[in-house]
């Protein structure tokens, strides 16, 4: 009998082209490479200089998301809403895709969207694949039992040219989530609690596998939210073993296998789980049933508390600096904090269920006076589906803005920015200083908490509206 192995190990072993040695890393084959306009121009330049083609255009998925405006784009001038540099970057991406024979899911495709939203929704993200992208939230795709991680631009060039990467094998960390989430508590709250527990560097050097009853009962979009923020704990990748929920999500999607190929894939996918008795390098356990909606109070995602808990106290210099920046006081609960901006979107919470969760709270209510609320779908397909369900109407009736798909205020490089000093409740993944604009103060939360905070005008427990 074979040694019991982890899910990670199985996917890793399946992609080793040349094994690692003490002197050299492994050469790992990449099944899906997702590229966008911000982290690829310099990689394409290298290929051009060396006269190299893209080795596998068929395994490369290209789109535009980071620096695209969230106002409608019909012609080049419309791109300028995001600034000249951003517009130029989009143009350059279109040119690069043309020159290298890549099929760009750009304007007019109807399928443009955030890299980590479109991979799954098109069914390109599948169990057992290796998936990379020049974006750290590539960990999202691990929700399908893929090994997915973010890479830098030099490595983007490596994958474009050779479909392979030089990689040292990471260690494994089991995050066991026992119990079930209480009503009104979501996957976003759960992953924030995990990061709070293990810290923003707790996963450094590890691939996380999320396990346990709470994870098994989550739908795919919630699982994506969980894996998405693995990087916020320092882990490059997060994984969840595929199951019926995964297969059901994938069946019938455009890039998913069909017919006999589907049956063969299913057989292969069913083996993708950690065997009983397999050993992880490290393990932590959390009880989901004890959690309440979570919000961050500081300037990294590990500075997080239950929404009704007081902001903690510490004399540590970095901690003080964070609280000063956020203009928050120890001992006070976050629920009294006035809100200026609310952002629902991003690869963490920009999928249809997220928009729906926000709309459910907005329905028949109004965004508080003086609060700007932006709802940005994660992709053009999400936008279309939301409109089919009439969610756009609920959102605009409440006084919130319904925008075009993209990263938007998650990274604030397309003109959608939080003004200096303003407090933003955001469903994105990073509350770093200046992440949403110079001097912006970000509170990370779930779509429900974000919507409830928009209605109340201050940070609010969404359970009061349900």
């Amino acid at each position: 009998m074979n040694e019991p192995t982890t899910l990670f190990q199985k996917v890793w072993d399946d992609h080793v082209v040349v094994p690692e040695t003490p002197h050299t890393p492994a050469i790992l084959y990449i099944d899906l490479h997702i590229v966008h306009e911000v982290t690829t121009p310099q990689a394409f330049s290298v290929l051009r200089e060396l006269g190299l083609p893209v080795r596998r255009p068929d395994l490369t998925l290209a789109t535009l998301d980071h620096s695209t405006p969230t106002t409608p784009v019909f012609k080049y001038e419309d791109l300028l809403a995001a600034g000249e540099g951003a517009a130029n970057q989009v143009r350059q991406m279109e040119r690069n895709c043309d020159d290298f024979g890549l099929d760009l899911l750009g304007y007019g495709s109807g399928r443009r969207g955030i890299v980590h939203v479109i991979g799954p929704e098109l069914g390109a993200t599948q169990p057992g694949k290796t998936i990379v992208c020049g974006d750290s939230h590539s960990s999202t795709h691990g929700a399908f039992g893929a090994l997915a991680f973010g890479i830098g631009t030099t490595e983007v060039g490596h994958v474009l040219a050779t479909q392979s990467l030089l990689q040292r094998k990471p260690k494994t960390l089991a995050v066991n989530i026992e119990g079930q989430l209480a009503p009104g508590v979501t996957a976003k709250d759960l992953i924030l609690a995990v990061i709070g527990k293990i810290g923003v560097n707790g996963g450094t050097g590890y691939v996380i596998e999320y396990r346990g009853d709470a994870i098994r009962s989550l739908d795919m979009e919630s699982r994506m939210t969980i894996c998405n923020m693995s990087i916020e704990a320092g882990a490059r990748a997060g994984m969840i073993a595929p199951d019926e929920t995964t297969y059901e999500y994938l069946l019938g999607r455009p890039c998913a296998p069909k017919g006999a190929a589907w049956d063969a894939a299913l057989e292969r996918w069913q083996r993708l789980r950690t065997d009983d008795g397999a050993v992880f390098d490290k393990a932590v356990t959390l009880d989901a049933s004890l959690l309440q909606p979570m919000v961050t109070y500081g300037t990294n995602p590990g500075m997080v508390i239950g929404i009704n808990d007081p902001v903690p106290q510490s004399d540590d210099a970095s901690f003080r600096k964070a609280l000063d920046y956020m203009q928050l006081e120890s001992g006070k609960p976050m629920t009294q904090t006035p809100v200026d901006v609310v952002f629902v979107g991003s690869c963490t919470n920009g999928r249809i269920s997220d928009i729906e969760a926000a709309a459910n709270i907005l329905k028949g209510r109004k965004v508080a006076k003086g609060v700007r609320m932006l709802v940005v779908p994660g992709s053009e397909l999400v936008k279309k589906e939301a409109e089919r369900r009439g969610l756009d109407k609920i959102i605009t009736d409440a006084g919130a803005e319904w925008r075009e798909a993209g990263c938007s205020m998650c990274i604030a490089m397309n003109g959608d920015v939080v003004k200096p000093g303003q407090l933003s409740v955001s469903t994105s993944n990073r509350n770093f200083e200046g992440r949403q604009g110079v001097g912006a103060r970000t509170v990370l939360a779930s779509p429900a908490t974000a919507a409830a905070s928009a209605i109340a005008g201050f940070v609010t427990d969404p359970r009061v509206y349900s």
Binding site: G152, A317, S318
Partner: protein
């Protein structure tokens, strides 16, 4: 890449924990399609006030920080995004090495691929470097040592391959291309195709 065997220089310390890539280079500076000239954006919002003037209290703006080529950062340096613009900006600013007690995975990979030494030292040495900024350091990649004032020598570990690439100036893309036959064989022989 040109070989990096040794970095000799003075240190400057940024003791804050968890310095993320957004602080190293903010997203609004990422709309470039080139990798050069990013030094002026390094730590921009820490260096400059709202009106664009230098903040005199920020360490890198102090007169004695000029010309320092070794950055000692607080624990978990470089966390956050995969933007390679972060090491590009630090190199262009004039840094040749970053030292911390822990460095985020992707940042460290990106840095080493660009010849920016990303070096993890033991907590005690880290503490010492943070509380004694402005010292002369001699980082020897060949011997995995940092020589501090008073001939104090501390060791660090660097992945063997990364070290080899630094010392020899190995082009990693070239290295991968040399494996083209193995890659092709893998593509042809694997039991399933993506």
């Amino acid at each position: 890449m040109k070989p990096v065997k040794r970095v000799q220089g003075r240190t400057v310390a940024l003791p804050t924990r968890d310095i993320d890539t957004d602080q190293i280079i903010a997203a609004r500076f990422l709309t470039t399609t080139s990798r050069t000239g990013l030094g002026r954006y390094a730590f921009y919002d820490l260096r400059y006030g709202k009106d664009g003037t230098e903040k005199p209290e920020f360490v890198l703006n102090r007169p004695d920080a000029k010309g320092c080529s070794i950055l000692v950062g607080g624990n978990n340096f470089g966390c956050g995004s995969s933007r390679e613009h972060a090491p590009w900006a630090l190199l262009d600013y004039g840094f040749e090495a970053v030292i911390s007690s822990q460095i985020a995975d992707i940042f460290r990979n990106n840095a080493l691929k660009n010849g920016l030494l990303a070096i993890v030292v033991d907590p005690e040495t880290h503490e010492w470097l943070l509380s004694n900024p402005g010292v002369d350091c001699d980082i020897d990649v060949e011997n995995n040592t940092i020589t501090l004032p008073g001939d104090r020598v501390v060791n660090f570990t660097l992945d063997g391959f990364a070290r080899h690439c630094l010392l020899e100036g190995v082009d990693q893309l070239g290295f991968l291309q040399n494996q083209a036959a193995a890659i092709q064989a893998f593509e042809e022989n694997r039991p399933w195709k993506p």
